[in-house]
Amino acid sequence: MAELELTGAEIVIRCLHAEGVEYVFGYPGGAVLNIYDEIYKQKGFTHVLVRHEQAAVHAADAYSRSTGKVGVALVTSGPGATNAVTGIATAYMDSIPMVVITGQVPTAAIGQDAFQEVDTVGITRPCVKHNFLVKDVKDIAPTIKKAFYIAATGRPGPVVVDIPKDITQHSCTFEYPETISMRSYNPTSKGHAGQIKRAVQMLLEAKRPVIYTGGGAVLGNAAAPLAEMARDLGYPVTSTLMGLGGYKANDPLFLGMLGMHGTYEANMAMQHCDVLIAVGARFDDRVIGNPKHFAKEARRIIHIDIDPSSISKRVKVDVPIVGDVGQVLEEMNRLLKASSERPEQAALKAWWAQIELWRAQDCLKYDRSSAMIKPQYVVEKLYEITQGQAFVTSDVGQHQMWAAQYYKFDEPRRWINSGGLGTMGVGLPYAMGVQLAHPDAMVACITGEGSIQMNIQELSTCKEYKLPIKVILLNNGYLGMVRQWQEFFYEERYAESYVASLPDFAKLAEAYGHVGMRIEKPEDVEPALRRAFTEHKDQLVFMNFITDPRENVYPMIPAGKGLSEMILV
């Protein structure tokens, strides 16, 4: 029997089916019309029509963050691709696996300044893990296979596949490769045995240990071996913004987040430890501040990371271990169990006594008797009412930090935010991706009045797909994070950080077909949240909390300073 020939567009769809894709987030246009025509005819996945390509990519990114699977977005050439760039860069900075398919002008038109032509491969090159321009219909299947493989393995990241329109019209026989091997790409996952042994020894000798975990522990699904190690040794754990949920926030060993807006106890412990083990965390400048001040005291550092270039990039480490966190931690746990040695208990006790003194500072305290709604209070109530079971997405700014500090994440992949790029506007599209992936889960989007307006059009998408997201707007009337810096470092010159003439958000939400609320008094916070999660369980509820416009995020380490130079409340 002669083998059936399929068009490039049909092949794209078949590849996505073969990858088990559930959702494609996208927006049509000329260059991808052939692909959309095939989407019309298929049933294998659901296409989610967003209202702006940036949101398509963010939603695909959040789908991935909350499930661990590869997110997929589809956009047209030119403006479709450029609108997608912010989303791609956001995913890239946080190492999120994603495949973004972009349409391109027909091959013959490339380089002619054709209608809606941009050099997508060139524009996205610095913010993708890899990208491809497909020049032959026969290359579509192997390229998409490679794209998924590269996105998901090693240090994950977004991969762009740019497909010219004529290639989607041409045809060839279709066969999806079952496996892929690339001579130029072979990420390591198993750590070096000798290094692992050294690390275990070093951990056992520690007198003032700290476990510092990051996004890698979440991406590598390593929560279980991480918890096992920490509990076995009784060592304190702190996490970066990206690692939250990788270790139970309610566990007594947990010191809270570290870094610029981290807790006093976490930052002081980091600064005074003698052995530090970094688990999928990359010593970011928001975390350790100035590396010069960070390395002040004698200490030894163990660093587990799947990407060699993350190791010794900003801080020189003593025991580098290149590998997958899960696998490496499991091996370390095995050695720890087999060893007859135990950490020196007296030293560990003294260390914990010191940590408890720092903890007693109660650095996250805030004024609970204010007549104005305190943003921290809203997050605390959200935590209580959802019993810590919600997926929480956030935008970027003060509200993001309050969400991170006051919602205690006990499970990985529940806290969805943009850490590396810090992209305002992610919150609502993130919530869409999460809610689609987890239809029965509670999904809250904690946002600011600045950020929400950067993708507010997605309220329309939420209506179309009946997404019962709870939008928690902490409306301080300011680009609060900017205002805070201006208060601290620019002598209160509030240049362009006040947002005048905001819309009536409740009415706006209603106009989009949702439930809108405006909450002005502290005593109304809890009832509003309760109603949202009960009476309006199945609806999108937009809660506009009018919060104290002058509230700041504490603690704070000014940029470029050392970890112990914290500004406390």
Binding site: V121, G122, L133, M182, R183, S184, P308, S309, K313
Partner: protein, 164 residues
């Protein structure tokens, strides 16, 4: 410190721009960069000359290895190696005396005159960069009309090889 790095990569469109883009995006120096396909046409071999502290060179090495198209790389400066560069120099050779002098200098440096015109010679010279510099120094500055250099290509000595 100066380092000379050899990179073996897939001979794919855009591979060069990935390397060049990496260097500019991360602010690494490129003194020179040469690239051409190898005996196996699916492979490209690149030689990059760069300078940086040990930490920077370590990052450069790691970042190059991280590029999906890069198969293997080697910092040639870590061991015995040979470097060669090709230079073409167009010099003034109008009078008998000038022609005589250019011929003599080219011979001393084992260069070859590869183009002879009424008023000019073009001399081809290969060697380590320092030899090419020395040749230019030896010429009267006014006599040099045009120069073009390829940048260094490098290879390890003896059993030291970069192959797949």
């Amino acid at each position: 410190m100066r380092h000379i790095i050899s990179v073996l990569m897939e001979n794919e469109a855009g591979a060069l721009s990935r390397v060049a883009g990496l260097f500019s995006a991360r602010g690494y120096n490129i003194e020179s960069l040469t690239v051409a396909p190898t005996e196996d046409a699916t492979l490209s071999r690149m030689t990059i000359v760069t300078t940086g502290s040990n930490e920077v060179i370590e990052q450069i090495t790691k970042q190059l290895n991280k590029l999906v198209d890069v198969i293997k790389m080697q910092d040639l400066s870590d061991g015995d190696h040979i470097e060669r560069e090709l230079m073409l120099v167009k010099v003034r050779a109008a009078t008998g005396e000038q022609r005589e002098e250019m011929k003599r200098l080219a011979d001393i440096f084992r260069g070859r005159i590869i183009d002879v015109a009424d008023k000019t010679y073009t001399i081809e010279l290969t060697g380590p960069g320092s030899k090419l510099d020395a040749f230019l120094d030896a010429l009267d500055a006014g006599a040099i009309l045009e120069t073009v250099r390829t940048g260094a290509s490098g290879i390890g000595r003896g059993d030291r090889m970069l192959k797949i």
